[in-house]
Symmetry: C2
Subunit: 222 residues, 2 copies
DNA sequence: ACCCTAACCGGAGGGGCCTCCGCTTTAACT
DNA sequence: AGTTAAAGCGGAGGCCCCTCCGGTTAGGGT
């Protein structure tokens, strides 16, 4: 807030002839610049997690060991910074889905991913209000996030169904709804604990009556 | 923003015995205090209208000729100030309805009030975003405002119907809907002009076929 | 008319926001 | 290896937010 003036930005008035066209799109960041940028993002994530999105930007710059000017050059506004961080986290969540799918049996991957989802939401709980405002103003961002999450979930669920490790009469939308219930639950102190239990419960339900189990234990045996 | 701490507010720890009960509800404000308060409100209204709700509080105090401390004592947060101002304006709008009803024929009163309503919305247009945030967080305030406005409108409409100066097959809800259309129209530069025309148009429609006209000019004549 | 104190005043102070600009570094090109 | 200028750095400076507290004053009580 308090943005105010910013009007009357002096234009530098180049004196030498402008270089014709040696602009290969967006020049790679200089080594020091990208180092600083990463450092800032890492520190910002920590500080925001600690103090909420209203944390002091000067503290972030300080802890990252750069001047405040550097922070502002990389991220012109607080919103920019928060948005980039947020997007990254969601992307990490999506990446985790792929990674889990590659290294574990589908049902384990799904279960594990949902637990991470809870953790991710938990981290956001603290800064709920400011984030709401941010997301309300940036519906495009919101749509992207939603898309990434649903896509990750869908792949995991479909793999688990195909593999026979969870029942086939559900689809990812059902599960998403269950998870969104977790999201919108009131923020009691034991919220995270309970949410984790809920996820296990959900997983048990999903495994019950799954072909693998049903054939391996239920139907074949008698 | 930047609200930050405020945690750890030291409690004064009264040392003298607490006064038993000489608290006649809320002691009247001292003369100077209420003078300053009014001055602040008047100046704040002007400054907010000029710069939007993000205007500098220090400027408001300065222009009102009081110290910043005085401003903060009367209005602990920016939101307090904005809310009080906002509520007052709505109350003024409601008072205007009664006043107009007393001094003009019902249809004129209604027409005039709707024009004022447009002006009132116009004044808020500039600070739309911040106000939205405020109202989103203060749904009680929103409900109050809504109640006052609908009530004012209803009285005016009913009076005009009873008087026969507008048609009787409409009710205030219809008109409110028309007005809310005006409110949610995109904020083009000629918005206010167009809205005023729309209101006239609406008024003409309301008068058409009203008992007074119909008997005086339409049906009786031929 | 005078006293007394609760209530009020106001500005200094500590911290944050963001901009601006002179100095430094990187890396493209000889 | 040497040159050079674009890209990057960072902190001083100007403005604002909000709190705290010593000095001032209104106005009820006598």
């Amino acid at each position: 807030m308090a943005a105010k003036a910013s009007a009357l930005r002096k234009t530098p008035a180049r004196k030498t002839a402008v270089k014709p066209a040696p602009r290969p799109a967006a020049r790679r960041l200089r080594a020091d610049a990208s180092r600083n940028r990463e450092k800032l993002l890492a520190v910002a994530a920590a500080v925001f997690a600690e103090h909420g999105v209203d944390a002091s930007l000067e503290e972030i710059a300080r802890r990252a060991g750069v001047g405040i000017g550097t922070l502002y050059r990389h991220f012109p506004t607080r919103e920019h910074l928060v948005e980039i961080l947020y997007r990254r986290e969601v992307e990490a969540l999506a990446a985790a889905a792929e990674d889990l799918a590659r290294r574990h049996p589908p049902d384990i991957a799904l279960a594990e991913w949902m637990q991470r989802f809870v953790g991710y939401i938990a981290a956001k709980r603290g800064m709920a209000k400011s984030l709401q405002i941010l997301l309300a103003t940036k519906s495009k961002l919101l749509a992207e996030i939603y898309g990434l999450v649903t896509q990750s979930l869908r792949r995991l669920v479909e793999a688990a169904i195909a593999d026979g490790s969870i029942r086939r009469d559900v689809d990812s939308a059902d599960i998403l709804q269950a998870l969104s219930g977790i999201y919108s639950a009131p923020a009691t102190p034991d919220w995270q604990e309970r949410s984790c239990r809920l996820v296990s419960l959900l997983m048990d339900g999903l495994r019950w009556g799954a072909p693998k189990t049903a054939q391996g234990l239920g139907f074949r045996r008698p």
